[in-house]
Structure formats: structure tokens, C-alpha cells
């Protein structure tokens, strides 16, 4: 059994190509794949940043060709168009231990665009569930993915890889949580309606902030955002009144002079009876005068401040990544041991069958001559089975252990040779035992 992983991600393939290969429903692709003889099990992970196929196969070369053709024909349902020639150069391929490590790294978010982001684990779980539901994932890939999920959990609990936010929007939300106990009763004022404002709005909504007002020069754009996020739309002339109510102010509008001056902020603070105000200024040039920092109840962070925190957090994540990689390495070795031990399964199964055949044959020869009643026959059956099991127990356990090591393969080969497990029939092996029994 071999593991094979072929895929592409944000580092190897342009968005244009990834978009064409992304699939919403993996089931048809997976069913078609496992219907072929060369693929025993398969899981397809398709996200905005990666498309990967993990398969279990006995014929690695045939599976490679099959999986690559799946990328070319089955995933790109509308055709690859002009990017088809780029496909081969964008695909990476891992086998066995490397494939295991990759799956573990992906689930642990070590291979993500933003290292430590939590979504990938959920996406990996969804991909595995889809494969199970359509019958494409069996016990071995099942074990691999469960191990990957457990590894991801370990990485998350034993390192701080996901603790600190690294996007400007998430940093802003994190800072707001250091000022306010909860967002449930807080009001936000968003000044502007650009892309950054929209991103921050999504992050604030996600954090539980519900009362949001959007003010913009162009009322239509403010209205569009307001409708999209269930906020209220306002013109800039309403700013002083809105400011008095706003606990979080997020501003990003054009203009050479800051609109949030110290005098404006002081008036707002008086009106709001000195309740604290968190000002996130992501405008360039700045929308809030740095002089408002002198006001005790105003906490102002501009784009540089947020970016500095985000960079520091990203640096912290990189430091934690080294620790996470060690966990992944250890977990990969554990899984590798289990996977390697599977090599011993056919030998053990054949050896058991061979010995059982001998035992049953010998018992069958002897019992008619002994003229035993049923109870005595059962006792003889049980006795011979117990002897066989006791004799086989130690060597079979040892075989399983040895199979986990690459050097242990030789023991499997020796066992097969000694017990003639690769012989076309059992006669030559049984006869000597039979003669011995006869003599006895």
C-alpha cells in the first residue's frame, strides 16, 4: 500500500488556475477515481488556496497517471483554457511519509497562506466527511485524517500559533476586546465605504457587534454597505451626532485634513459622558488627528500601529511554527509506524491460514482413530488451537513490530521463505508434517 498526494496551492499555482480546479461537490470526482483498480481510497481537499488529492494505491505509477488526469479532466469541468500548459508545473507530489507529513501540516495550518488560521481544519474535516459519505475514504485514509485532526488539535493547544491575529482587521477587533468587555451593546461608526472598511466591518460583525452606522460622502455606497451588513447609512454631515454614540470608530475616507480633530473628539466625549472610544484610523492620509491621543478616554490606532502589531504577531507565529513542526514530525513518525506495520498484515494473515490448515488437517487425520465423544473432540480442537496460538503469538507480535522499521522488511521476507507462503500450493509444505504425524 502506498500513499500518494498530488495537488497545488497558493504558492505553486496562480489564483486563475486554482479557481478553475476548485470543486464544490467532490463526490462525483471521488467515486470515479475509486472505481478504477489503481486507487483504493481517495480524499479531495478543495479550498480557495489549495486543491489536493490524497489516494491510497497498490500501483503507485498507475495512480500517479490517473490522479494527474483527474486534475486535467475531471476537476476542470469547464476546461483549463489558456492555463492548461501551466498545470503540470504547478502540481506537487508527495509519497508515503512525505504525503503523511503534508496532510498533517495542512490540517495544522502550517501550510496555509496565513499560518495558524483556523478555517483549514474545518475544511479538511468537510473534505474527509464528503469522502466517507461517497464511499471513497476507507480505514487507512480514515486513520490518516483522524490522526491529522488530532495533530492539529495538539498543535493548537501546545503552541501559540493561532493566538495572535495577523490581519489588520482582526488586530483591530482584538484591541477592541482589550477595551470593551463585550460588543453586544456597543455601537460602531464606520466612516467611508471602501474595501478596508468592508473587511473591518465583517470582522466586527463576526465579533458580535450589531449596532453599526456607516457614514460616507456618497450616500449610495454607504447605503450598499448598510444593506449588506444590516447597518444604517448616513451622510458625513451627521458625524458629530453619530460620534457621540460611537464606542468604536473606524474611519477611512479621503481628504488632506483629518476630520476627527481634538476639538471634535472632546465634544463627543463630553456628550458621551467620558465613556471610552476606540478609534481605528485606516485612512491614508490619516483621518484622526494624533493630538487626540492626549484625551484619556480615546484610544487611537492608525494603519501603521495596527500593521506593527500584525507584523509582531506574525513574527510570533513564525517562532511558534518551529515548535509546531516538531509536533508534526513526531506525529508523522507515529503514523508512519502504524502505516508501515500494515505491510506485515498479508504475511501474518497467510501464515495464520497456513498453520490453521496444518492443524485442522492433522486433527482430522487423528480424531477418527481415537473414537472420542463430542466433548472430547471439542477439547482436542481447543487444545490444538491453543497450542498454535501460543506458538504463533510471539513471532507474530515481533513481525508486526519489525514491519514498522524499514530494516524489518527482511524479517517478513524470511518468514515468507521459511513457511513457503509464496508457494503456489500448500502440498509441499504440508507433506512433511503429515509424514511426521503418520510416524508418530
Amino acid at each position: 500500500m502506498k500513499l500518494l498526494l498530488i495537488g497545488m496551492n497558493h504558492r505553486t499555482a496562480p489564483l486563475d488556475l486554482r479557481e478553475r480546479l476548485a470543486v464544490d461537490d467532490a463526490a462525483p470526482v471521488l467515486r470515479k477515481l475509486v472505481a478504477d483498480a489503481e486507487v483504493d481510497e481517495a480524499v479531495l481537499l478543495s479550498t480557495c488556496n489549495r486543491v489536493e488529492l490524497v489516494v491510497l494505491t497498490r500501483e503507485i505509477e498507475a495512480a500517479r497517471i490517473r490522479v494527474r488526469s483527474t486534475f486535467r479532466r475531471d476537476l476542470a469541468v469547464d476546461g483549463l483554457g489558456p492555463v492548461e500548459q501551466d498545470l503540470e508545473s504547478c502540481l506537487y507530489e508527495y509519497q508515503n511519509g512525505d504525503a503523511m507529513r503534508h496532510v498533517l501540516r495542512v490540517a495544522s495550518s502550517l501550510d496555509s497562506m496565513v499560518v495558524g488560521e483556523p478555517q483549514i481544519l474545518g475544511q479538511a474535516k468537510d473534505a474527509y466527511r464528503a469522502a466517507v459519505e461517497c464511499g471513497a475514504a476507507g480505514p487507512i485514509l480514515g486513520r490518516l485524517f483522524q490522526h491529522a485532526f488530532a495533530t492539529a488539535k495538539r498543535v493548537r493547544s501546545e503552541t501559540r500559533i493561532a493566538e495572535r491575529p495577523v490581519s489588520v482587521a482582526r488586530v483591530a477587533v482584538d484591541l477592541a476586546a482589550q477595551i470593551f468587555e463585550s460588543f453586544a451593546e456597543k455601537r460602531a461608526l464606520l466612516v467611508g465605504a471602501g474595501e478596508m472598511i468592508e473587511l473591518a466591518l465583517k470582522a466586527l460583525r463576526g465579533a458580535g457587534l450589531e449596532a453599526i452606522a456607516v457614514a460616507n460622502r456618497t450616500a449610495e455606497r454607504a447605503a450598499r454597505l448598510a444593506v449588506q451588513f444590516g447597518a444604517t447609512a448616513h451622510g458625513l454631515d451627521e458625524l458629530p451626532a453619530l460620534l457621540a454614540d460611537a464606542d468604536v470608530v473606524l474611519t477611512s475616507i479621503g481628504g488632506h485634513e483629518p476630520w476627527l480633530t481634538r476639538a471634535v473628539a472632546e465634544r463627543a466625549l463630553l456628550a458621551r459622558r467620558h465613556r471610552p472610544m476606540f478609534v481605528i484610523d485606516i485612512g491614508v492620509p490619516r483621518n484622526a488627528d494624533p493630538a487626540i491621543d492626549a484625551l484619556g478616554d480615546v484610544y487611537r490606532y492608525d494603519l501603521d500601529d495596527l500593521a506593527a502589531i500584525a507584523n509582531e504577531n506574525a513574527e510570533e507565529r513564525r517562532r511558534e511554527q518551529a515548535r509546531a513542526e516538531l509536533i508534526v514530525e513526531a506525529e508523522q513518525q507515529r503514523f508512519d509506524g502504524w502505516f508501515a506495520a500494515l505491510r506485515a498484515v498479508p504475511t501474518i494473515r497467510q501464515l495464520r491460514a497456513r498453520v490453521e490448515t496444518i492443524r485442522a488437517g492433522e486433527v482430522e487425520k487423528v480424531l477418527p482413530r481415537l473414537a472420542l465423544d463430542d466433548a472430547a473432540r471439542d477439547a482436542v480442537e481447543a487444545l490444538t488451537r491453543a497450542i498454535v496460538n501460543k506458538i504463533l503469538h510471539a513471532p507474530l507480535s515481533r513481525l508486526r513490530e519489525e514491519a514498522e522499521r524499514e530494516e524489518g522488511i527482511a524479517h517478513l521476507e524470511t518468514t515468507r521463505l521459511l513457511f513457503a507462503l509464496d508457494a503456489p500450493d500448500a502440498e509441499g509444505f504440508d507433506d512433511p508434517g503429515g509424514e511426521d504425524s503418520e510416524r508418530a
Binding site: 476586546a177 482589550q178 477595551i179 470593551f180 459622558r273 471610552p276 484610544y299
Partner: protein, 266 residues
Amino acid sequence: MVLALEYLTAALYLLASLTAGAGFTVARPVMLRAAVAVLAAGAVAHGAMFTLLHSAEPTPPLTHLPSALSFMAWVGTVAFLLLAWRARLAGLVALVAPMSCLGVAAAVFSTPATTALPGHAAGAGSLPHAHVLLASAGLALLGLAGLAGLSFLVEHRRLKKKRPIVGGAGWPSLEALDRAGAFAVAAGFPLLTLGVITGSLWQRATSGAYFSGNPHETFCLLAWAVYGVLASVRFGARQPAVRCALTSIAGFAFLGIAVLGVELFA
């Protein structure tokens, strides 16, 4: 049994302090929460100790300073636990637990916990007991307000300087610290006021006058008046949170010096 519970309380508070300190240093919120749980276990043992103490006949009035400090530690701990149950305040355990530990340690390392009734309290009925309980509870809550104020100022300064958070996500928000401080003052000052009144009644029962002019009474009354002014300013008109935090710290510092300082150096 009382002594055993007192030692157990001290050990649990110490464990909570160490766990909180470690959790704060390595920025692990889960350790801060564990410290809160250990502190709660300590508070239960501490409460059991006072229950046993108060079932004694006659009930010791805790007029002995270390016993009063131990009681203050218990009230402060229970108040903190109640606040932490309602708000995201687990990080404050890094300050509360050592204070509670010190309060109990004062009683552990002093003369027996079951303090004998001092001679000057004889004939005053339950007034000495009521005075110590009310004043200690008030002081404990105002001490908690001071700790919340101190934490608020440190956190406020960090946010203003745009420095990264220390102690991880378990550290309380500014709003939670401000609310905890306000609650502690709102509950603590009336208790302290009742403590002053019962103290005055106790004085009258023993000497015939409400006010004898000794240093303890003089400084306590002065400290109460100062704190009264600060509390009325805080609640009278909405003040900036920074000023509220400063008044909590200044008020408690003054109370501490006036009440405990005079008591210690008398």
C-alpha cells in the same frame, strides 16, 4: 481544626498565586482560570474556618489585626470571585491571590487564630464584632477597587503606548476593570461607613463618648471623609475612567495608611 483550615487556606492561596504568576508570565489564560479555581477552593476553606471560629463560645471578635487582615482577605477574595463569575476578570487573580495569601499569612504567622476578646472590648456586646466585620469588609472591597484601578492604569498606559498585551488573552478589559472598581467602591464605602458608625457606638459603650480622639479614630474618620469625597466625585458626575482609577488607588492608599498604618505603628 480552625488552625488546620487556616493552613489549608494559606496553602491554596499560595498555590493560586503561583499558578496565576506562571499563567501571567507564559501568557496562558487556561492557567489563570485554573488559578481562579484554586483561589475559589481556598475561599471555601477560608469560609469554613470563619464559620468554625464563629461557632465558638464566646465568639472571638477578630479585633486582633492579623485576624482582621485574614477576614479582609476572605471578603476581598469572595468579592473578586463573584465579579470574575460575572465578567472577564480572571487575569486579576494574578494580583488578588497574592494579596489574599499575604492576608492569611499574617494570621498564620501571628498568635492563634481564635483571638481572645481584648479587655477594652468587654461590656460592648457585639459592637466590636460588628465593627471589625463591617470595617474589614469595607476595607477589603475598597482594596479590591484599588487593585482594579491599578490594573486599569497599567492597561490604559499600555494601550496608549500601543505596546503588545502582557499576560495573554486572559487579562481583563478596561471596561471590566472600571466596572469592577465601581462595584467595589459602591459596596465597600457603605460597609466602611457602617464600620465607622459601629466603631463610634463601641467607643461610646466603653468610654461614654462617641469620639475619644485617639490616633486610630482620628485617622480613620479622616480617611473615611477623604474617601467619601472621592467616591461622591466618582459617582456624582461621570468622570473619565482614568480619574476614577486614580481616585480608587489614592483613596485606598490613604485608608491603608490611616487605618492599618496607625494600627501597626501604634
